[in-house]
Symmetry: C2
Subunit: 336 residues, 2 copies
């Protein structure tokens, strides 16, 4: 899922997203709650109409964002109160109002409010986050459902195998249509992340989506698919795109490198996207050096296309029983 935090994947239109083979985009409840706010999106006819995207939209609950605020939020057993990063105004998220918000704006997949712990943390802190996350999930499960909006729960537990297991088991008992693995890709080592994601995914139902949040690079995606995860979101492709970093079959390229100013080859020899089909590395390098906004746009498009293509190829490889070969080939791509 390309990330469209504020109801827009940075620099790309819905037509671009389709062209780049996007099946679903992510938007963020924390950001949409603050701006433009529920009323604007509801009056516009919902999030799909508002942003002009008629394929699925998953909205993150904003838990991750609120807990990132640290000194600007107060957690209690019933929810979390925080100060807006935009204007300092006070807001409160509860397991109930977060689901209601996402239902009201017409999300296809609404993430439950979870409690994210910044790592490293004590076992006690992580255990408390797991406890509250389950309690909140139970309250969310008891809410009236709304046709068209599926609720996904988020398993927590840091890097603690026992707590991860407890969180996954308790949430699975509540029988949600899908599950996410949260609280990873937040600074731990690659090996810790892969091991925890793999172990948690194994505890989640195989017939429901298993969504690893905040991942990622080609290497991370391939390792996590191998670990049993199905769904991913990350700002990585668009953020790299805005900053001159191209994800290619030959590894990542920094278009600010002087060599590219005289490199008339296509950006990625094996890519058929609009950017690769129409522009040379030299032209893209020129755009970034001249700080022209077409550079970030064309490169974001390519990177989103590239990751969607990777996922398409991964599905095909799994279907054809040749996943091991595919994974061995692609995990050579070096990350940023």
């Amino acid at each position: 899922m390309p990330v469209g935090t504020a109801a827009t994947v940075k620099g790309l239109t819905p037509a671009d997203l389709r062209g780049a083979q996007t099946q679903i985009v992510l938007a963020n409840t924390y950001h949409l709650w603050l701006r433009p706010g529920r009323e604007t999106i509801e009056t516009a006819g919902g999030i799909h109409r508002f942003m002009g995207w008629d394929r699925p939209i998953l909205t993150d609950s904003g838990g991750f964002q609120v807990f990132s605020l640290e000194s600007r939020r107060r957690l209690d057993d019933d929810g979390v109160t925080f100060a807006s990063h935009l204007d300092g105004s006070e807001h409160r998220f509860t397991p109930e109002n977060i689901v209601e918000f996402q239902q009201a704006i017409g999300s296809d997949v609404a993430m439950l409010l979870d409690v994210c712990v910044k790592l490293p943390a004590t076992r006690e802190e992580i255990a408390k986050a797991v406890h509250l996350t389950t309690a909140w999930a139970r309250r969310s499960a008891a809410l009236p459902s709304k046709a068209g909006t599926l609720l996904f729960a988020i398993a927590q537990g840091g890097l603690d195998a026992k707590l991860r297991e407890r969180s996954a088991r308790e949430l699975v008992e509540l029988d949600f249509p899908g599950y996410a693995i949260g609280g990873l890709s937040v600074g731990e080592s690659r090996e810790e992340m892969y091991a925890t994601a793999r172990a948690t995914a194994a505890l989640l139902p195989e017939d429901k989506p298993r969504y690893l949040m905040g991942v990622g690079t080609v290497t991370d995606l391939v390792a996590s698919i191998d670990g049993g995860c199905d769904l991913f979101d990350c700002v990585y492709p668009t953020r790299c795109g805005r900053n001159g970093r191209a994800m290619t079959h030959g590894g990542e390229l920094n278009l600010f490198n002087a060599a590219f100013t005289r490199d008339y080859d296509r950006l990625d020899e094996l890519c058929d996207c609009y950017t690769c089909a129409n522009f040379s590395r030299a032209y893209l390098a020129h755009l970034f050096r001249a700080k022209e906004m077409l550079g970030p746009r064309l490169l974001s498009y390519h990177n989103v296309y590239f990751v969607n293509d990777l996922m398409r190829e991964a599905r095909a490889a799994i279907d054809a029983g040749r996943w091991r070969n595919y994974a061995a080939r692609d995990s050579n791509c070096s990350p940023c």
Copy 2:
């Protein structure tokens, strides 16, 4: 002509430009000379291949930009020496090397190097600029021609009717394929600009393009078409687009006005462009408030489409003998 100074119309792809009904774009010799430089564009296969645009490209000579540098340039009878605004490096433009550069990169229309005077100026200063502009045009006319590149001369003369007449007559004697009216839209009053453009256009051949440089707004375009001008360039549509100003059939709108955050109407009731067909004013207002780059992109697209549509309608109205009616209707649109 939408302005693509550095071989890119800001934020728009060649596919967008076609979608927005663009027939020809402008690029700038001053900027391309400094970055990426002649060799890069030549090696890429010319300016069309480099920027991925296969319709006509007119390149301005850079005279206007160089003379804007003021203290950073030295004019002599043979050319002008200046310091780059990018790195202070010294460069020299002559009537010859400017034409050769534009021929080398494959411009369809190459503007001659002219001498632009900042207004207000003394009659003597303007007379000297006219004298040099003609002398330089004579030297340019004597150069070997290159198939595919047409040379357009630029008439100068400030707001002085006699000097404008002298400049136009001297250049017309040299029999170029097209003529521009330069040195206007630089701070003089609307009435002075209209009167001078009209008087100069009347001295230029009716069967050749008469290009009024640096115009403009809807009001200026309609008045200048009425005055006999055929071709225009201006950063206005894209600059307004980047800054939240929409050119519409109902006049210009500033999308930062609070009212638009709850306005679910289409941007321009009478426009069929991608932006108007897919997004509300509320969504566009949200993008600008959230500083999302999709806002400048969508609004630049609309504004370019809008101006191209105006020109298309103007041509149709002239062809159908109903120009007077059309001009009377459209000149009500208030400029920025």
